[in-house]
């Protein structure tokens, strides 16, 4: 009888192990598996849940599910203007963008309480939550029209809150009838319309100089000291050229940034040393995951490590004016501009303003919160003043707006190979009390002043022409 008892005991024990297995999958691993890209749960849930709408800050419809002839159809009245940011959600194609990342909100299954969960079991089909974005369709439309036909991205942020006001990437695609047009969209290998260029890494070129500025200040250099620009200089055997070999003569910090003097920043960058440079880029968020509703690749200093512990002199000299191996996303560059505008504090970026349930009650509301303190107030003021000079008397002149003081910085980044430079531009305005910060890149567009600054100017002009409180 002992044998039978032991076998019975072994059976009971095995059942216990089995129940631990259930705990592991249903409790410990539940959320991880939900996020697995092969898991079609969220997409299949749509058959039962009417997906919530997506609206801009003024209540304009960006995407909404409507019932046409008994079939649910996702209507996107703005066409390709919000793509690829908006993304898509399709049983066949999977998900991307806001439609994908905010699916739990749009389907109304995030943070459901136990009572809500039980209610949901008996209330099918049900309505998902509506998401109100911080985007402004008017700014989005201006940025979209300005970039159309080019390859590039534009990001506008409210520096006081971190709210994303516009985010455009071109070329994009029309989200209606996506399944039918899919083959055509993915066959455009040069245009890559599915890629959000605002989140893509590019060499920053001279826009990096605003970041390097922080390293210069912290190494204790006197910004009024003069430096003679001769068109090129040699540091540790490496020749640093000005754009088009232009000589600027005697320049101080302000003029060096305004005229975008490479030799000045390379020389003083090397003097400041790699410790100061790396600590400055770190305080701007390089090598860090940006806290945002969508995934943004972290910006990086070298190809090997996003945040290396040291840099050799040649690489430091090149990095100081945004070449070498430095790579930044336009989105991060907009945050950097916003940080300078907001007296050195970068606010946590966000694109969701609030979430409303089907009865239009607020379920979630975003509150502004600081992300990083990149600069002290004094440092931010110094960079702002140099960026103002760049607009009034420097390379950023095409970004100027009548009657409003703009602060800006251009960049022309060499992508490597025989290609035209990427035109970069970051700016904010009004310089004395900034309400908008913008970053624009035009791939192979030439100079920042020529290609990118006019686009940023149009966006800022529209934003600032709106009265205070005008939504």
């Amino acid at each position: 009888m002992k044998g039978i008892r032991r076998v019975a005991l072994g059976m009971a024990f095995s059942f216990f192990i089995l129940s631990l297995g259930l705990v592991y999958w249903q409790v410990v691993q539940a959320d991880t598996l939900l996020q697995n890209p092969a898991n079609k749960r969220l997409i299949l849930m749509e058959n039962r849940v009417t997906r919530g709408g997506i609206f801009d800050r003024n209540g304009e419809i960006i995407a909404q599910t409507q019932v046409l002839n008994g079939k649910k159809v996702r209507v996107t009245p703005k066409g390709e203007m919000f793509e690829p940011l908006l993304g898509y959600s399709s049983v066949q194609l999977g998900t991307s963008g806001i439609e994908g990342n905010l699916a739990d909100r749009l389907l109304g299954i995030k943070d459901a309480t136990a009572i809500q969960t039980v209610k949901q079991l008996f209330a099918l089909p049900r309505q998902g939550d509506d998401v109100v974005l911080t985007l402004d369709s008017r700014l989005q439309s201006i940025a979209y029209n300005a970039l159309k036909g080019k390859k590039g991205a534009a990001v506008a942020i409210d520096p006081r809150t971190g709210a994303v006001l516009a985010l455009v990437s071109q070329p994009s695609f029309d989200p209606t009838n996506l399944e039918q047009n899919w083959k055509d969209i993915i066959s455009q290998e040069d245009n890559k319309p599915l890629i959000n260029r605002a989140f893509k890494l590019y060499p920053p070129g001279s826009v990096m100089k605003v970041v390097t500025s922080a390293a210069l200040f912290r190494s204790g250099i006197n910004t009024t000291d003069l430096y003679e620009s001769t068109g090129s200089t040699v540091i540790n055997g490496q020749t640093i050229n000005e754009q088009n070999g232009k000589a600027f003569g005697w320049v101080n910090y302000n003029m060096a940034l305004a005229k975008s003097c490479n030799a000045y920043f390379a020389t003083y960058g090397v003097k400041a040393g790699d410790k100061n440079f790396l600590s400055a880029v770190k305080s701007f968020g390089f090598g860090q995951k940006i806290p945002f509703e969508l995934y943004v690749k972290p910006s990086s200093i070298t190809a090997v490590a996003a945040m290396p512990t040291k840099l050799d002199t040649n690489l430091l000299a090149a990095s100081a004016f945004g070449q070498g191996q430095v790579e930044v996303t336009p989105f991060h560059m907009a945050l950097i501009a916003a940080g300078i505008a907001n007296q050195g504090v970068i606010m946590t970026p966000h694109i969701v303003e609030k979430v409303l349930d089907s009865a239009q009650a607020v379920v979630f509301e975003q509150k502004p919160a600081p992300w990083l303190t990149a600069l002290s107030k004094e440092e931010a003021a110094k960079i702002t003043s140099a960026m103002v000079t760049a607009v009034n008397d420097g390379t950023a002149a095409p970004g100027a707006i009548p009657n409003i003081q703009v602060a800006g910085k251009t960049g022309s980044a060499e992508p490597g190979g025989p290609y035209k430079t990427h035109g970069w531009y970051i700016s904010f305005a009004p310089a004395e009390a900034p309400r908008i910060a913008v970053a624009v890149i035009v791939e192979n567009g030439g100079t920042g002043g020529g290609a990118a600054a006019p686009i940023a100017r149009q966006i800022m002009q529209e934003a600032l022409s709106q009265k205070v409180g005008d939504k």
Binding site: R6, M11, F15, L22, V23, A38
Partner: protein
């Protein structure tokens, strides 16, 4: 009496509640008729138990009926999610037929079988029957899902493996009862261990090798594993010699390694088990979908009919039925089902311990071991605790052969329980008569 009836009413009530939560209008009248028949059999059965003075284990049958009811609800549920083609229309209806036939067969065995000890008289014939059934399947069977385990008999497709379980169990019980002493003590000294001689062990070993060999040839790895566990655990339970467990482990590892080296499908199984995420669209699809379904259930489940597993998990209706249960009823429901099975298994052992004759003891324990290993192997498979080997979950998975064979096993088990309770009752009364 009242209690017995109320329990059954709760069980069938549960089934009707489940069916009504699924779409009523989608259920055919035929199916509802069969559900009524099921209700009638369950309730009449409980009355009959009263009238015929059933005195066996009072827990097992209601628990199995509860498992059956849950199984029926989920077969209906999964049936609704299957693609709309003629072959799928009557799946749930068939399961109701099998459940009803199974219950009737169960009662027939419970009341009809005069003396279960007579089952032992056929001795080796049971073994030959088992081998014969498997051979016929291997030669004439049809292959589905990689395994050759179905046999078509005049329009009805049977899975002989299920019936082999019964034959094998009876063979094992007969053999072990007959040779218990020899197996326990051993007659041949081999080093420190005394082993039984070849004449005792020979027929058994040949039978085991034969049966496992045929199953391997059919690629029915799951059933082979169940049988291997059945052989080893029954041998241990009867002889109480840890030596047999000790020997079985290296044999298992050796054949396992050999199978791994020789057969591609075994390698694929193991590889998929170790990392299903590597090839989620290919080999890992089944287990990944199962885990997606299970994990989606969380604590309270998605609610009956709300899960995705029923349509995304391949063969959800048979091998993977538990994944759908765990998803739609959640951890709470899955644990409840697990507990129901544990009750059945442990009560089977309890019956074994109460039984007076050795053959009955061994047979009852064998039924407990069989039900326990089947449940453990398939549930460990769908939760990725063990490599996946497709077998049915007793009474829950779709399949006529499985349902009927498990009701036959239940009939035998409760017949043993009832017979012993009645005899002890009468002996007690007899004793009292003497005293007065």
């Amino acid at each position: 009496m009242i209690q017995r009836l109320i329990t059954r009413m709760i069980i069938v009530g549960m089934m009707w509640l489940g069916l009504s939560l699924l779409k009523w209008e989608a259920l055919s009248t035929q199916l509802l008729m069969q559900a009524l028949v099921f209700t009638a059999i369950v309730l009449l059965g409980s009355l009959m138990e009263q009238i015929l003075h059933y005195q066996g284990d009072p827990y097992i049958l209601p628990v199995v009926q509860a498992i059956m009811a849950i199984g029926l609800v989920f077969v209906v549920r999964i049936n609704q999610a299957l693609p709309d083609n003629p072959g799928n229309h009557n799946i749930a209806l068939h399961q109701f037929w099998w459940a009803n036939i199974g219950l009737v067969v169960f009662y027939a065995i419970l009341w009809g079988m005069q003396d279960y000890r007579k089952l032992g008289r056929l001795r080796y014939l049971w073994g030959l029957l088992a081998v014969g059934l498997l051979m016929v399947t291997l030669v004439f069977g049809s292959t589905t899902g990689g395994a050759t385990s179905w046999l078509s008999l005049g329009g009805i497709v049977v899975q002989p493996e299920e019936f082999v379980k019964l034959a094998l169990l009876l063979f094992m019980a007969t053999y072990l009862e007959e040779n218990e002493e020899l197996l326990r003590v051993g007659t041949v000294q081999w080093g420190k261990f005394s082993l039984p001689d070849w004449r005792t062990l020979g027929p058994f070993m040949i039978m085991v090798a034969f049966i496992l060999g045929i199953l391997a040839a059919q690629k029915s790895l799951g059933t082979a594993l169940v049988f291997y566990m059945l052989f080893v655990l029954m041998l241990y339970a009867v002889t109480e010699r840890a030596l047999y467990l000790g020997i079985s482990l290296p044999i298992f590892l050796l054949t396992g390694t050999l199978g791994y080296q020789l057969f591609r499908h075994v390698r694929v199984r193991v590889m998929v088990w170790m990392n299903p995420w590597q090839d989620v669209a290919g080999g890992g699809y089944q287990i990944a979908q199962s885990l997606f379904a299970i994990s989606g259930g969380k604590i309270l489940g998605t609610g009956l009919g709300n899960g995705i597993g029923a349509s995304t998990v391949p063969v959800a209706i048979s091998d993977f039925v538990f994944s759908v249960i765990a998803e739609e009823l959640g951890f709470a429901g899955a644990m409840a089902v697990l507990m129901l099975f544990l009750i059945v298994v442990l009560r089977a052992f309890a019956i074994s311990l109460k039984t007076k004759d050795r053959f009955g003891q061994i047979l009852a324990a064998g039924i407990g071991i069989l039900l326990g290993t089947e449940t453990l192997i398939i549930l460990a498979g769908v939760t990725k605790l063990l490599p996946l080997t497709g077998i049915t979950l007793p009474w829950v998975s779709y399949g006529g052969s499985s349902v009927i064979v498990h009701f036959i096993l239940l009939g035998v088990l409760l017949n043993i329980s009832n017979a012993n309770a009645v005899s002890s009752h009468t002996t007690k009364n007899k004793g009292r008569e003497c005293a007065t």
